[in-house]
């Protein structure tokens, strides 16, 4: 916790902090089925204890299972054997005649209850030793999971009154869940923003349609927020999002330049990244080390940098030796880097 705290106090640190998105990998380490891992908070917490034992990251995560938030509203999920649940079908087939639902109370939804109880257990296990971050669906993206991208895009672009109603649901949901995470002892939330991708919504339209929703949600959240690139390059959009309220920093895609990102966001916001997590099983240990060293050298002296895996969870099938190599490199003496 001291290492992360020093990012904000400016106190000297022995090495840059690091984290790896190993929410899923805990299931592999404990041999737990994914269906059980993503429904039983104890199983999840046990998995994260195994992650800490293996990698000793400076930040750990509560469940990275965004689809569970949509399941609270009736979205149909699939539970693969080697991955987190994913959305099979949006919650609402048609919005014709549909009254916008109210956000679910945490206790009335088994899926949301699971997320919060798992967070509580991970926080209790860490007992202040390291911060715990909670992934949360971005308010601009929740309607995609509930209605589908086409319907949401149609509303955002052409039906502002309807978009406002669904945006309000997403906002209330975000605020309520972030409050519950705060009560659970979570230190900050991480929100992947899919619609920030300029290939999906270009900046001019995003400024009009997305920014007000994000701004409202972030301003009312009970926890600081890390803006995650959501699987897409984020570099060219940072200028648009850097002034959002309550913002702690950005997780960047591997294709983003950290140098340019720092120039765009200024000295105060955190930058996290940018080794692509889902690609780790397909890269050699040497390649992973090369990339990691290049990131660390690039950010040498940046007091607001956290080395982090980018993208989605590190896959279930990743060889343990790759994570051990990363751990050894990241937890070693930075002076010994080539």
């Amino acid at each position: 916790m001291e290492r992360i705290g020093a990012l904000f106090t400016g106190a000297p640190i022995d090495r840059p902090p690091f984290t790896l998105t190993l929410s899923l990998y805990g299931a592999r380490l404990t041999g737990c089925s994914c269906a059980s891992y993503y429904s039983n908070p104890d199983a999840y917490a046990e998995g994260q204890r195994a992650v800490v034992e293996l990698c000793s990251p400076d930040i750990v995560f509560s469940p990275f299972a965004l689809a569970l938030e949509a399941a609270a509203y009736g979205a149909m999920l699939d539970f693969p054997e080697d991955g987190p649940p994913y959305l099979k079908k949006p919650a609402y087939k048609s919005i014709h005649g549909l009254v916008v639902p109210r956000p679910h109370s945490i206790s009335s939804s088994p899926h949301l209850s699971y997320l919060i109880k798992a967070a509580e257990k991970v926080v209790a296990d860490q007992n202040g030793a390291r911060p715990v971050a909670a992934p949360i669906v971005a308010p601009v993206d929740l309607p995609i999971l509930l209605l589908g991208l086409e319907t949401w895009l149609d509303m955002l672009l052409f039906k502002p009154d309807e978009a406002r109603l669904w945006g309000q649901l997403a906002l209330d949901h975000f605020i309520s869940l972030s409050k519950a995470y705060s009560d659970a002892g979570i230190n900050f939330v991480v929100t992947p923003v899919m619609l920030a991708n300029p290939l999906i919504v270009n900046p001019d339209i995003a400024r009009r349609t997305l920014l007000p929703v994000l701004s409202d949600a972030f301003a009312h959240a009970r926890l600081p927020i890390v803006f995650h690139h959501g699987g897409n390059k984020l570099g060219q959009s940072l200028g648009m999002f850097r002034d959002l309220p309550n913002l702690l920093g950005f997780v960047l895609d591997e294709r983003d330049s950290l140098v340019e990102a720092r120039q765009q966001v200024g000295p105060d916001l955190l930058l996290l990244g940018n080794l692509n997590g889902p690609s780790i099983p397909y890269r050699s240990v040497d390649d992973i080390k090369r990339r990691t060293i290049s990131i660390l050298l690039d950010r040498n002296g940046d007091p607001k940098f956290i080395f982090a895996s980018a993208g989605a969870d590190i896959p279930y099938g990743t060889g343990k030796e790759k994570l051990v190599a990363l751990r050894d490199l990241l937890s070693g003496d930075p002076g010994s880097l080539p």
């Binding site: 589908g148 991208l149 086409e150 895009l153 955002l156 672009l157 999906i200 919504v201 270009n202 339209i205």
Partner: protein
């Protein structure tokens, strides 16, 4: 406003999601000039330009979506003109299959955005589209194509997991001896990332963007016509 200024204005409206303004502009051209001018000289060249930019990732999905909606509005507000105009420009050769297609998202796929856009662009080019919606079984796609005599089935999938379900359409066509009379067009986000996947799932072709889909469908229709002529010799 001259033609060039009208095209620029339409492009501006589409890129800025000004759907109503785009509709008003096109309808004013229909009323003040002609339907033919609005379609041939303004809308189609603008859509081609957007398609070109889209295939180079120079415009966003949201802007492509707006282009589809503008095409949809134009069709809805000029019904009656369209088929006559298409028949004039690109008449159906006697005996060739009709410009009719069956579209759907494959079983387990619920991402309708691309399909809706393709429907708009196909209809703009005079195709009659039977839309079966999301999560459609292979047998329903094939049964419908047989029933209405459509030479092309268009199937959409967004993710790799659902794209693999398209193989069941190819299998159904093969089992029923329909491979020479019905072609299979495939599309969706995953095919843009992995174009080679189209052949892997049994597709006869794919298009980079929704705007390119009518050209693909027409080439498949003509391929089916060629098959039929060979069989009849």
């Amino acid at each position: 406003m001259d033609v060039r200024a009208q095209r620029d204005a339409l492009l501006h409206h589409i890129l800025n999601a000004e759907r109503e303004e785009a509709k008003r502009l096109l309808l004013s051209i229909v009323h003040e000039d002609s339907y033919e001018t609005a379609l041939r000289d303004i809308l189609e060249p603008t859509l081609r330009l957007i398609g070109d930019r889209w295939s180079k990732d120079a415009i966003s999905l949201a802007q492509g979506f707006v282009a589809g909606k503008v095409a949809e509005d134009f069709i809805a507000n000029t019904k009656g003109h369209l088929l006559t105009e298409m028949d004039k420009e690109s008449p159906i050769v006697e005996g060739s299959p009709p410009r009719a297609a069956v579209l759907g998202n494959i079983e387990d796929d619920y991402h309708s955005l691309g399909r809706s856009m393709v429907i708009s662009f196909l209809e703009l080019r005079g195709w009659s589209v039977t839309d079966l919606g999301n999560d459609v079984l292979a047998r329903d796609l094939v049964d419908t194509a047989v029933r209405i005599g459509a030479p092309v089935i268009g199937v959409s999938a967004m993710m790799l997991t659902t794209a693999r379900n398209i193989l069941s359409v190819r299998q159904a066509l093969r089992e029923r001896g329909l491979e020479n009379s019905i072609a299979l067009a495939v599309g969706g986000a995953v095919f843009r990332m992995r174009p080679e996947l189209a052949a892997e799932v049994g597709g006869d072709g794919t298009a980079d963007t929704g705007i390119d889909a009518p050209d693909l469908f027409e080439s498949l229709r003509l391929r089916i016509y060629g098959n039929q002529r060979r069989e009849n010799r």
